[in-house]
Point group: C2
Chain length 161, copies 2
Amino acid sequence: MGPSSTNHHGHGHDHGATGEPWAERAASALADAGYRRGGARAALIGLLDAQSCALSAAEIEDQLKGGASRPVARASIYRILEELEALKLITRVEVGQGLARFEAAREENHHHHMVCDDCGQVIPFEDPDLERSIEALADRVAFTVAEHDVVLHGACRDCAR
Amino acid sequence: MGPSSTNHHGHGHDHGATGEPWAERAASALADAGYRRGGARAALIGLLDAQSCALSAAEIEDQLKGGASRPVARASIYRILEELEALKLITRVEVGQGLARFEAAREENHHHHMVCDDCGQVIPFEDPDLERSIEALADRVAFTVAEHDVVLHGACRDCAR
DNA sequence: TTTCGTGCAAATTATTTGCACTTGG
DNA sequence: CCAAGTGCAAATAATTTGCACGAAA
């Protein structure tokens, strides 16, 4: 990784505390990559920017159909998600429910997920110590680590009792 | 990886201090749970016991069809895997390839996986420091952690160049 | 206008289910 | 014998692809 410069740990939901809002960064990146400004892309980016947690393709389709903004066809959702992932603007999260989830990739909000195997709830968490272990490990293996995912399975507080 | 890589991959019945081979433990557990001793179950357990790395349902089907032992129908494979997972005799590993992988759950062989996003190869690794971080974390959160999975994405040595 | 973006529907892939036949106890 | 086990094929669910039309540059 790079030299850990400004250690902004403002874990609020103020997108863009580090400068440019994610939605704009995503839109620019798409433009730079040669993509046009389509309505479906804008709608999807807007929705992802407003979320704090990962959404599945189906959830994205419902939310967009639900009137919040303009509806987008399932195929377009998958295609756009693919583009965004290729540009590393979103992160694909697979927590073992037979479907993929996606969330805006914000450096300042790196985190992992706990999954309640009972109610299906997905809860984000962050842990510097864990990150340190993974970084150290990445330096030690004969493998070029680009990303990492940690998933904790178990029962959330409500389901545990 | 590190020079300290464990070298007991002789895929025989090389087990830890527990003494009892996994295949037997699995068979007993199934019996205790009230299941009968079916041919498909035996074949599947035998195959899983012989592996050191996680297999997908399709790979399991192929291996069993390949003559090693008796062929087992896809539906049976999924059903048996489900039973084994419910009894915690196997672990489901999802590394983001759109399919699930399964491996015998052996306490003494707890590990995680690196996935080459280029060639698809899945490589196991273990790291005590990482485990320590996760354990410490598990004690700290308002969530009952039953299992955990760490997946490193990137490029294997061959694909990295 | 020309090319890309998007929607719709059909195609694929992984997994599940229904039902008839077989087998273990 | 009888309930559970298994195979086969059809059913689902998530995701991908082909193609025609509408929109951005």
